[in-house]
């Protein structure tokens, strides 16, 4: 950079520091004293100068012995042993039991004071009373401990052998001295710095543009101090939507753009809508407690129509037991009580079931619906399993709906979610036929990962809803897994952890 430009970009702190710097190492503490500034500002200024390659720095670490909290107190008010010695000189004899009161020391201090003086052979205990035994001159000389605390702080290596014993004595007593690791930063000019520091530095640059300067036109003919634009600035954080909600909003917009209506509904539902209406046999493992959150002590009700039992119950029962429309059914005795069990929905497909019933009654199709919401599975939580997760559900009800369209909608959705390479393969769900699974190719793991399932509702599902088989395309891929790749989440437990630091730092959804 042009030397003039460098000079014009020197901030006030840099301009203050520069003349105080030399080509030999100088400690920051000393520098800030010379420049009459505080250490933090000096450090910042040195940082700026370093960015401009005007100075070099080095850091040295050393052990420093300094006063602790009690040490500072004793430095002001004398060590307990000195207090005791003074009182003893005054009174000649003090009963042991009265040391505390006479000297105004606490238990511990009086014990230490007595111990120290005995060790130095200054005192003796006779019949429970303390007397001085040492000579006057000896007593009035400063003790090594006293000398030491007056000299602190000292570098550990500067402590002389004679002082070491005193240091050990003091260290064995709490909070009088402490040994700290201290960092010392040294700074010196680079050749360029030397050169610049020799220039006469024009301090007539405008630092901040003020309303006064604008009003008085005093900026005319003057230069502004140049900023170092690469200097890091303190971080700020904005408010934002939760990252999962950012992504769900986007996913909803994909379905809306394709003309889908949104369906919503309860998270708690009866087994009838979650399982039975979806042709899931009552002894299917998914209906067992180890997979599903059943609600304790509540028995639900089956759907009603104007106070009468809904006809759908009878058809669902029939479809399970002996089948309808030529289907063989599951061939078992369907139990109404099982379908009244209340549970946290294991999939959003119960919303589709209820919606199909509604569409069937109103005979309003062709039509398309989507849902995006939480589902619940009684799972042990690990990196790839959560007990609450989102599902993106969809149905297309149309007499002309077919399997190719199903693949069409799914490919379109996943493409917009950022998955160009997906694989469609056979799958199995008790309520759809044909069924399919969607896999995406994981670019890092170099393998196919499962994204979710779809299919066409079986006649055993649609007939109770519509009175006859109407093709219904249906899908319900798990949503959370789809967005982990974008947010670089490798552990599903991170999704709903609400670590505020992470939420603040997290990038926004953008596809």
């Amino acid at each position: 950079m042009d030397e003039n430009l460098i000079i014009e970009s020197l901030s006030p702190i840099e301009r203050t520091l520069l003349p105080k710097l030399e080509k030999d190492w100088k400690e920051i503490k000393e520098l800030s004293k010379n420049a009459a500034t505080d250490q933090t500002s000096a450090l910042r200024g040195i940082g700026f100068l370093k960015n401009k390659e005007l100075v070099e720095t080095k850091t040295e670490e050393e052990k420093v012995v300094d006063l602790g909290i009690l040490g500072i107190h004793y430095l002001k008010n004398e060590l307990p042993e000195r207090i005791l010695l003074d009182k003893l000189q005054e009174r000649k004899i003090i009963p042991i039991s009265e040391i505390k009161n006479v000297c105004g020391l606490n238990d511990n201090e009086s014990k230490v004071a007595l111990g120290t003086l005995k060790k130095k052979a200054f005192v003796e205990i006779k019949k429970g009373r303390l007397e001085i035994t040492a000579k006057f001159e000896e007593i009035n000389k400063k003790m090594p401990e006293e000398l030491l605390i007056e000299k602190l702080p000292l570098k550990l290596e500067e402590i002389k052998d004679l002082e070491k014993l005193a240091l050990e004595n003091l260290r064995s007593r709490k909070d009088i001295v402490e040994i700290k690791d201290e960092k010392k930063i040294f700074v010196k000019l680079t050749p360029l710095g030397e050169k610049i520091s020799k220039y006469k530095i024009d301090d007539n640059l405008i630092e901040s543009l003020t309303p006064k300067i604008i009003k008085q036109n005093s900026w005319k003919g003057k230069k502004f101090r140049r900023y170092d634009l690469s200097t890091p600035v303190p971080r700020i954080y904005g408010g934002k939507r939760h990252f999962v909600n950012q992504a769900t909003d986007y996913a909803k917009s994909i379905w809306l753009e394709m003309g889908f209506k949104e369906m919503t509904g309860n998270m708690v539902d009866t087994s009838f809508w979650v399982f039975d209406a979806l042709f899931t046999a009552q002894d299917h493992p998914v209906r067992e407690m180890q997979d599903t959150f059943f609600i304790k002590n509540i028995e639900g009700k089956l759907p009603k129509k104007k106070d009468k039992e809904d006809k759908i119950i009878e058809t669902v029962k029939k479809s399970h037991e002996n089948g309808i429309d030529g289907s063989l059914g599951w061939r078992y005795e369907w139990n109404e009580k099982d379908s009244k069990k209340v549970l946290m929905r294991t999939h959003t497909t119960c919303l589709s079931a209820r919606k199909l019933r509604e569409i069937g009654e109103k005979k309003e199709f062709p039509t398309k619906y989507f849902a995006l919401g939480k589902c619940f599975r009684n799972e042990t939580v690990d990196w790839s399993h959560g007990f609450e997760f989102n599902q993106t559900e969809g149905i297309v009800v149309d007499e002309n709906a077919n399997f190719r369209q199903l693949i069409g909608y799914l490919k379109q959705f996943f493409k917009k979610m950022g998955y160009d390479k997906i694989r469609i393969r056979p799958g199995y769900f008790s309520y759809t036929e044909p069924s399919l699974e969607i896999d995406a190719f994981h670019p890092v793991h170099k393998k196919w990962v499962e994204l979710g399932g779809a299919g066409m509702f079986r006649p055993e599902v649609t007939i109770p809803m519509f009175g006859k088989h109407i093709p219904v395309l249906a899908w319900g891929p798990g949503f959370d897994r789809i967005i982990t790749q974008f947010f670089k989440i490798t552990d599903l437990r991170e999704m709903y952890k609400n670590d505020i630091n992470k939420l603040r730092e997290m990038k926004v959804w953008k596809k």
């Binding site: 949104e262 493992p285 369209q405 393969r425």
Partner: protein, 550 residues
């Protein structure tokens, strides 16, 4: 999820070299490849295909799919003398059915014995529902004397030496002392009599669904002929299950013989029933479902790839389904078979032009608008679980009792949340290392019990918004400013009325009222609550129900 792990060399003997291309075919067949290395190959078997749970059956299906094998036909031999099983009345109300067969001429080796035991276990655990629906037993013919009787006796009158046990014990003791007995004891819960198979020498063969006898119920390398039975309560499942095992044994070279079943209640029949099943379908139905054109020739080719024969009987398309398939319930299942054979990857995706008007749920729109307003005020949205713990709820609502609990949760969370604020305060308590101020909000459902006659679940779900602010000097002003701004942006008015609530400081808690209706609370959180969460700074907060916006 059932994973079938096969010896790769054994499989390759049957289907040829397993190249990466064949591995793809395996997935395309509807049996996703999980893993493949030098020695083993693992595939996932969906619950509708228990018939694929053995090497023999899987190899047959793969060969058919690759076009190397025709649909299977099974040659069954007529019963010989004494090939009989009598089902006595005594067993009819406990375990009413059994289907049986005799197999001859098997050449067992270690691998085959392991395979048979493996299929048995896999079937028990899948369609057998852990032996509840189906239990399978196999007995070397040389150890038993035909005919067999299936009957029930009081447990104390049943005495034999169960497998892997040093001595003879009675039925009750088996359930108590034998490890397998203990594992499955619940299946005979409350039964006064236990079912047994017993031979013509009055030797007990087994006590299904628990265990076989050590003397008669163990196959070894010297076994050539054996008696096999499946018992349970659903005859059609038993027949399917038996057919799955027998079709596998048939592939191993076993000769299958029928048995006469003399059911004292339901009359006589012949077992097993390995004839294929016919299902009629219409080609246009298949075409409309799949969205492709198909000639009869193509239909035939595709079905054969799936091991199903096609026949045109009097101008009626008929699928002849092999006896081991349990999953073809309706013509729609034929459609999927054809789709799989056609290849899912070969379907050309289309998006039809159906005119339909998109519409977003009103509450979703409301929530997004509110979320954006609050984010504009530098608040961060959180997203927490609907399931929480009673302990957490009690840290706020100390006298709350009407918990909605879930059964047997695998995590500590076993209760539905009653508000969102508790979650927000928990989040704050877990984030003491993050920079302050922290301003967070969340929207979502909370749950309460209801006696509403029209509720099918007895639980009412309400959408709520909660906001919590924490900093050294946060007070009522900051939270009210947010409420003010929010209502101004929504062009709505609210009032605040003083109230008392144990979660808030007295004199600093208000009801928020919109059009005469209370929608929630606002205030400074009581220090008692803060202490419960070990929070060291004040929080001001609000929680409102969002219904009023609809």
């Amino acid at each position: 999820m059932t994973i079938l792990t096969l010896d790769k060399i054994e499989l390759e003997k049957k289907v040829g070299k397993i190249t990466p291309e064949i591995e793809n075919k395996i997935t395309e067949m509807g049996t996703p490849l999980e893993n493949s290395n030098e020695n083993e190959i693992s595939i996932e078997i969906f619950p509708n295909r228990p018939d694929l749970l053995s090497l023999q059956n899987f190899a047959r299906a793969l060969n058919q799919f690759l076009g190397k094998k025709e649909p299977a036909e099974f040659k069954i031999n007529k019963p010989e003398k004494d090939f009989q099983v009598t089902i006595e009345k005594s067993v009819k109300n406990i375990r009413p059915y059994t289907v049986c067969a005799i197999v001859k001429g098997m050449k067992f080796d270690d691998k085959k014995i392991k395979e048979i035991i493996d299929i048995q276990e896999k079937l028990h655990n899948s369609i057998g529902r852990k032996r509840k629906k189906i239990a399978i037993g196999i007995y070397p013919l040389e150890k038993i004397k035909l005919p067999i009787r299936f009957k029930a006796l009081p447990p104390t009158e049943i005495s034999f030496q169960p497998l892997e046990y040093p001595k003879e014990i009675n039925g009750k003791q088996i359930l108590k002392n034998h490890p397998t007995g203990r594992e499955y004891a619940s299946l005979l819960d409350g039964a006064e009599k236990f079912p047994i198979f017993i031979d013509a020498n009055n030797e007990i063969l087994s006590m299904p669904p628990i265990i076989n006898s050590e003397k008669t119920g163990r196959i070894t390398e010297s076994t050539k002929d054996f008696f096999i039975e499946c018992s349970g309560s659903n005859l059609s499942y038993l027949q399917k299950c038996m057919n799955i095992i027998l079709s596998s044994i048939y592939e191993m070279g076993g000769k299958i013989y029928e048995m006469e079943i003399k059911d004292e209640k339901e009359g006589n029949s012949i077992s097993p029933k390995m004839q294929p099943q016919e299902m009629k379908f219409k080609i246009p139905d298949i075409e409309n479902t799949l969205g492709i054109k198909l000639s009869e020739k193509e239909i035939k080719k595709y079905l054969e790839k799936m091991g199903i024969k096609y026949e045109n009987k009097n101008n009626q398309s008929t699928a002849v389904i092999p006896c081991y398939r349990t999953d073809i319930l309706h013509w729609i299942d034929i459609a999927e078979e054809i789709a799989i054979a056609y290849g899912y990857e070969n379907f050309e995706p289309i998006i039809p032009e159906i005119s339909s008007t998109a519409s977003e749920d009103k509450m979703s729109v409301t929530k997004r608008i509110i979320g954006n307003i609050l984010a504009g005020l530098s608040l961060i949205e959180t997203s927490s679980f609907h399931l929480t713990t009673k302990k957490n709820i009690k840290k706020m609502h100390y006298d709350f009792k009407d918990f909605i609990e879930v059964e047997d949760s695998k995590t500590e969370r076993d209760t539905l949340r009653i508000d969102i604020l508790t979650n927000l305060i928990q989040i704050i308590s877990e984030n003491s290392s993050a920079q302050y101020p922290q301003k967070i909000f969340e929207m979502g459902k909370v749950f309460e019990k209801t006696t509403d006659e029209n509720s099918e679940t007895g639980i009412k779900e309400t959408e709520k918004l909660s906001i919590a602010l924490i900093d050294e000097s946060i007070n009522f002003t900051e939270i009210k400013q947010i409420l003010d701004y929010l209502f101004k942006m929504l062009d709505m008015k609210y009032e605040i009325e003083n109230t008392e609530n144990s979660n808030y400081i007295i004199g600093r808690c208000g009801k928020i009222i919109v059009e005469g209706k209370e929608i929630g609370l606002i205030g400074e959180i009581a220090p008692r609550v803060l202490k419960n969460w070990k929070i060291k700074m004040p929080i001001s907060a609000l929680e409102i129900s969002l219904d009023f916006l609809e």
